[in-house]
Structures are given as structure tokens and as C-alpha cells.
Amino acid sequence: MKYFTYDISKYSVRQLVALPVALLVLSFLFLGFNTLMTGMPVDPGIDFAGGVAVTIPQSTDTPAEVEAYFAGYPLKSVGEGVQGGYYVVFEYMPDEDFLTLSERINDRYPDAKVDQIGETFGKTLQTQALWALLFSFIGMAIVVFIVFKTFVPSVAVVISALSDIVITAALMDIVGITLTLGTTAALLMLIGYSVDSDILLTTRILKRKGKFFEKMQGAFRTGFTMTSTTISAVALMFVVSWIGQIDVIRDISAVLLLGLFVDLMNTWMLNAGILTAYVGGDRR
């Protein structure tokens, strides 16, 4: 069918891995810089920083009116939905202020969705989310090492999963998606997606007989079919949740979408490059 041809035999290993490695390094620097400046690698949402998030369904108010209405409260941002809805975020405020704010919200926007997270609770969630990320990653690495038993291919899979998460996290911050419980879950989900295509590639190359570049091409056909179907499902989820103002799902799907594209690059350039060097396909 209409696959674009995937023929990496004309590139050297160095050329293959150059782009993903450069992006990985840049992303690490970027996240490190953020951490130094703000204490967090990615701008945290209210789940981690504490604060109040309000989703206002369809409203005739202009953004300026919304801002004016909430003057006097620590307003952080006002985002606009597709259908005239708003997504308003406040920084952390003491309980008494929140009580008056919830009355104010209720007066004008009785159908709003309101979520409030206290500062200490946010801290707890932050620590827990960090542990979850760490445990997931280590667990994944252990499974990969047990399955492949050989060092280089296992490392290749683990590195490309790590690279998926790191580059996606950097992209998230650049496009302005905050780190919330939902987006943390999406990053964890990426571990699963990432390993999917990497394992397919590694198994095909190491456990099947045949010419190296033909196996590579076969793996790419399958892998690309896989990732493109997933992308189509997630893309639809993103569009619908964006229009429908379901921020939880919109953020999760946006991160997954970014991650799936990053994964295409990491699997078929980084991981494939390392495998090429390992198997010696480069020499032909």
C-alpha cells in the first residue's frame, strides 16, 4: 500500500541518531534550566502548585469582563474555549478567600466546574507523582531487560522511552500545557506506547531470520501502521475534548499526541540506529 519507503541503509548510524540525541540533550537542558529557575521542570497546574481552576461553559462575557469580574483574586490565567467558554486559573488562596470566590462564581456562572487544591496537598501530590513516574520507569526497564537479556538492545529501548518522556515534557512546557495529575498519567501512558513499537522493532530484528534492512522495513510498516492508528484515535479525542471543553481529556490527549510523534522519531531513528550499530547492519 501507500507506505513511504523507509530505507535507512543510505544513512550512517551517526546521521540516524543525531537528531533525536540533539533533541534529547536540548530538552534535558531546557527542563534543567526550568527546574533551576522555578523549582519545577514543567510549569505545574493547580494539582501540584495549589490553586483554583474554574471551567465556565458557554458564556456571552468577553475575556476582559471575566477578568474584571474576578479582580481582587490572584488570577493566574484566563483561557478561552472554542464555544465561548472560559478556563480560569487562580493561584493558591486561603480558605476564607476561596469561600467568597466560590460564592462569586456561583452567582454569575452557576454551571461552572470548580476545583481547588491546597498548597500542602499539592506538594503531597507532587511527591507522589514523582515516585509514580520513577517506579513506572524502573519497572518498565526491568521488564525490558528480563525479556531481551542482551544489554545494548535493552538499553536502546529504555533510552528511547526516556527520550520520549523528556522531549514530550519539554514540548509540553513550550506549547503551554501544565503538569497536572492528568498529564502525568499521560506521560506514564507514553511509557507503554513507546515500548510497544520498540519491542516490535527489537523482536523483529533480533528474533527473525532474513536480511537486516528488509526486516527493518517490515518492522517499520507494522510499527507505522500501529502508531498512525493510535494517533488517529488520540487526535479525535483531542479535537472533541477541545470543542467540548473537557480539559482533563484535552490535556491528556494533547500530551499523548505530542508523545506519539516524538515516539515515531525515537523508535525509527534512535532505537533503529542503535540496533543497526549493534547488529552490524551498517557494514552490510
Binding site: 466546574k113 498519567a185 502508531t227 479525535l236 479525542m237 473537557i246 491528556i252
Partner: protein
């Protein structure tokens, strides 16, 4: 259809993998819509919906209390009592070497106090013991029931170390102001005395009760349960006056003492002779209400303790987080979620069709995927409520599901040839191998979220894990069988 084809079809249906999948699909549809009858709930049937789809409010509370593991040579009971006095706080020893301090202190504040009393702090955690958490849960449930809310969930969130850090209330169909009231409100507690016949007179209100103990046996080991409580000085004076004025000290049986919560009698008993005699001359501050012997006595004592506290929690709480979704917005989210799910399915079908251009591959693939989702929803009716996060998980599972069907398909019809049955099985098993590893990693990646109880992410993780397991164990093997039956009827082109 030729005899041969229908023969294969029947054979395929009889294969246990395919049969199991179909049975589970039927079971799931029955679970969602038929038993118990759920059609009246609309398209969502018996699915448990989370607050963000149903409308309602949640409040998560943290405790102004800490749990300390300590090390001392002294008798722990005495030690705990001394610490309580030193801190001027209520201290509850719930294990040999662990106590709960029911007031806000930092570790730095406590360390010198422990040292002075010849003990060291081994661990320090903010939170309450599980016993206290259960009691708080009971009190909150009581309050919620009084409100007549039909659908409320109250969960304690307890770490592996047995310290409960949070308690979470989810109240469907309640706005946030009402929810806050439930947490903060206290009932009106009153003690009255029987005068003549059914007549009673007021003695004191709940504000005269200074402290309430947990249920104890008196005398110790007698299995006769009761709750001790302490009156304020003025309360004790009022109690003495009333008992003397209305004759309860001379004829206790004719003048029962009654406890009322929100004007309902929750306890009634006569003074015991010893107390009656004592009250003739002096006010008594330490009182005790006996509830009876055995298990029943203990249960009554627990209930009475809650009543004596008049709905006040034994530990001060703070709102750690809260949220609310209106019913109409919940309804909107529900509709949008269904649309998102359906469109995602259509997108997947279109993409798969674009790559394979072969209905005999695409239809079973999509069919299997739908079966997977239905089974997942069916099982979820028993296990997990669906909220927005778990719907995202559901769609993510749809993505991995189709991924793995692609792996199977490409593996078995490799190089466009129809393999012999032996070769087919070999390839199919290799494909299952890839899938197993991928499934394993996804499950492991999600496991921390499922265990840690990070608010609503638990649903996302559980749905994802469940979906992956159903896929690997049930639907993908069945798909392998189906695609084999189809491929062996077709010339191997692709």
C-alpha cells in the same frame, strides 16, 4: 455461503477463545443494561459514573493531627498520659509504641517534649490512626445520611504505614456550599431530665461537655461497655441542681436522664445509686453512660460517643482540596465523552482500512476492538466508577488494542503468503510474545498510579490495566483464531 465456509464459521465459533469472548460480551451487556435493570438510566445503564459526569461535589480533608512511633522504657499508657498533659492536647495510644496527638504540632516542637519525658521519636507522620479515621468516616456518614443524599462515597486514604492522611467525600447532586456545611456543621446536643410522667426539663447543652472518651469497659474486663465524658464546672453544677430539684437523687428510676441530638432521644437511663448519693452533696464532673454488655453494648457505646460529640469530629480537619461540577455540565461531559469515544473508533477504523484495504481484515479488527471495550465497560460496572480521566484511559486502551491487533495481523500474513497451520501458530505465538511484553510494561507503568490513590488518576490506571489484561487474555487470542479462519479461505494477498 458454501457449506465449507459455514463449517469453518461454526468451527471458529466453537473455539473456546472465540466463544469466551462472545460470552463475555453478552455478560457485559447484561451487566450494564439488564441485571439489575438499567435501561431506565439511559445509555449509561448500570455503569458507575464519577462526579464529573454525574454532577456533584468532592471534598478532601486533611487532619490537624500526627501519628508518632516512640521509644521509651516506661509503661506506654503512663507515658502517653504524661505527654498529653505536657502538650495540653488529647493523646490516643493506639499501639504499644504508637500514639496519635490530636492537635497540630511539628516534629521540631514535639522532640524536646518527648526528650524531657525520657522518650525518643522514631517516626513522625501527619495524619490519624486507622481507628480514628474509621470513626471520622462514621461521623461523616451519619451527617450525610441525615441530609438524605442518596449517593455518597466516603473513603479514607491510608498509607502503607497504617497512617491515614486524608479522607475524601464525594457527594452526588450536592453543591459545594452544602458539602462544606456537612463537614463543618454540628448537631444540637442536649441533656434533659424526666420530671413527671412524660414531661422533661432542660439540664444542659452540648457546650457543657468538655471531653468524651472512647468506649471503655467498666470495671475493666467486665465486658460492660460505656462512654465516659467530662462536664464543665457550670455544667456539673447545673446537672447537680436538676438532679436534686426534680428528685432524681432520691428516686432515680422515676426520673431518667435523657440525651438528645437534634431533639431526638439517643440515650436514656437512670442515675446509678452511688452517683445519685454523691450528687446530693457535690457536683460531679466525670460522668459515664453505660450502654450494656457484649458486642451490642460496644456498638451502642460507639454510636453514643459520636452523639456525645454532637457530630464534631475528634480531630480538627482542614480542607485539602475540593471541587464541584453542576449536573448540566456533567451531562454535557457525558455526551461529549460518548462522542469522543465513537469518533475515535471511526478514526481507527478509517486508518486501518486505509492501510489494509481489505474488509475481511478490517471488520474483525474493529469488531474485536468493540468487543474489548464492551467487556471492559461490563467488568467496570463491578469495579470502578467512570470519570473523565478513566474515559481518557478507555480511549487510550482503544489505541493500544488496535496496535496489537496490527502486530498480530502483520506477523501472521507476513510477506503476503497464507501460512500453513503450523507456521501460522508459530507466528501467532511470536506475535503474542511481543504483545505480552508490551502489555506487561504498560501494566507495570500504570501500577503505581493504581496503588497510590492519586485522586482521580486511580480510575485512569485501573481502566488501562483492566483493558490491557482483557486484551491480552481474552480478545487478542480470539482475534488470532478469527483471522486465521478468514485467511485460510482467502488467497494470500494484501
Amino acid at each position: 455461503m458454501s457449506d465449507d465456509t459455514s463449517g469453518t464459521l461454526v468451527k471458529t465459533l466453537k473455539d473456546w477463545r472465540v466463544a469466551l469472548m462472545l460470552i463475555l460480551v453478552v455478560f457485559s451487556i447484561v451487566s450494564i443494561y439488564v441485571i439489575p435493570p438499567g435501561i431506565s438510566n439511559g445509555m449509561t445503564g448500570n455503569l458507575q459514573l464519577g462526579l464529573d459526569l454525574e454532577g456533584g461535589s468532592w471534598i478532601q480533608l486533611s487532619f490537624q493531627s500526627e501519628v508518632i512511633r516512640f521509644d521509651t522504657d516506661e509503661d506506654p499508657e503512663y507515658f502517653a498520659a504524661r505527654i498529653g498533659d505536657a502538650l495540653d492536647a488529647e493523646v490516643f495510644l493506639f499501639e504499644e509504641d504508637r500514639l496519635e496527638i490530636r492537635a497540630p504540632f511539628t516534629r521540631e516542637e514535639l522532640e524536646p517534649v518527648f526528650e524531657e519525658n525520657g522518650a525518643t521519636i522514631v517516626t513522625f507522620e501527619e495524619g490519624v490512626s486507622q481507628d480514628t479515621a474509621d470513626q471520622i468516616k462514621l461521623i461523616l456518614e451519619d451527617k450525610v445520611n441525615n441530609l438524605g443524599t442518596k449517593d455518597a462515597r466516603i473513603n479514607t486514604i491510608t498509607g502503607l504505614n497504617g497512617v491515614t492522611q486524608y479522607i475524601r467525600l464525594e457527594l452526588a447532586g450536592v453543591d459545594i456550599a452544602t458539602a462544606q456545611q456537612i463537614v463543618g456543621s454540628q448537631g444540637k446536643f442536649e441533656i434533659r431530665i424526666q420530671t413527671v410522667g412524660n414531661e422533661t426539663e432542660h439540664v444542659l447543652y452540648g457546650d457543657a461537655i468538655k471531653s468524651v472518651s472512647t468506649p471503655t469497659q467498666d470495671p475493666p474486663g467486665s465486658d460492660v461497655w460505656g462512654v465516659g465524658f467530662t462536664l464543665s464546672e457550670s455544667g456539673a453544677a447545673a446537672f447537680k441542681d436538676a438532679a436534686n430539684t426534680y428528685g432524681a437523687t432520691t428516686n432515680p428510676d422515676a426520673h431518667e436522664i435523657m440525651m438528645l441530638l437534634d431533639d431526638e432521644i439517643v440515650y436514656s437511663a437512670s442515675l446509678n445509686p452511688k452517683l445519685a448519693a454523691e450528687l446530693k452533696t457535690t457536683p460531679v464532673r466525670e460522668l459515664r453512660a453505660t450502654t450494656g454488655a457484649g458486642e451490642e453494648g460496644l456498638e451502642d457505646a460507639k454510636a453514643l460517643e459520636i452523639h456525645l460529640r454532637a457530630g464534631a469530629l475528634p480531630v480538627d480537619v482542614e480542607i485539602a482540596g475540593s471541587g464541584t461540577v453542576s449536573a448540566s455540565l456533567g451531562e454535557h461531559f457525558k455526551v461529549m465523552s460518548v462522542i469522543a469515544g465513537l469518533l475515535a473508533l471511526v478514526a481507527v477504523a478509517a486508518t486501518v482500512y486505509y492501510w489494509y484495504r481489505e474488509p475481511s481484515i478490517v471488520l474483525p479488527m474493529i469488531g474485536t476492538n468493540i468487543a474489548e471495550i464492551i467487556i471492559l465497560l461490563g467488568i467496570a460496572t463491578y469495579l470502578q466508577q467512570l470519570d473523565l480521566a478513566s474515559i481518557a484511559g478507555l480511549i487510550a486502551v482503544l489505541g493500544t488494542g488496535i496496535d496489537q491487533l496490527v502486530v498480530i495481523t502483520d506477523e501472521v500474513i507476513y510477506e503476503g503468503r497464507v501460512p500453513s497451520e503450523n507456521l501460522y501458530l508459530k507466528r501467532f505465538n511470536r506475535a503474542l510474545g511481543i504483545i505480552m511484553v508490551a502489555a506487561c510494561t504498560t501494566v507495570i507503568a500504570m501500577l503505581p498510579l493504581a496503588v497510590m490513590d492519586l485522586a482521580n488518576l486511580r480510575g485512569f490506571a485501573i481502566i488501562t490495566i483492566l483493558g490491557v489484561l482483557i486484551g491480552v487474555i481474552i480478545t487478542r487470542p480470539a482475534y488470532g483464531k478469527i483471522i486465521m479462519a478468514i485467511m485460510s479461505k482467502k488467497p494470500g494477498e494484501r
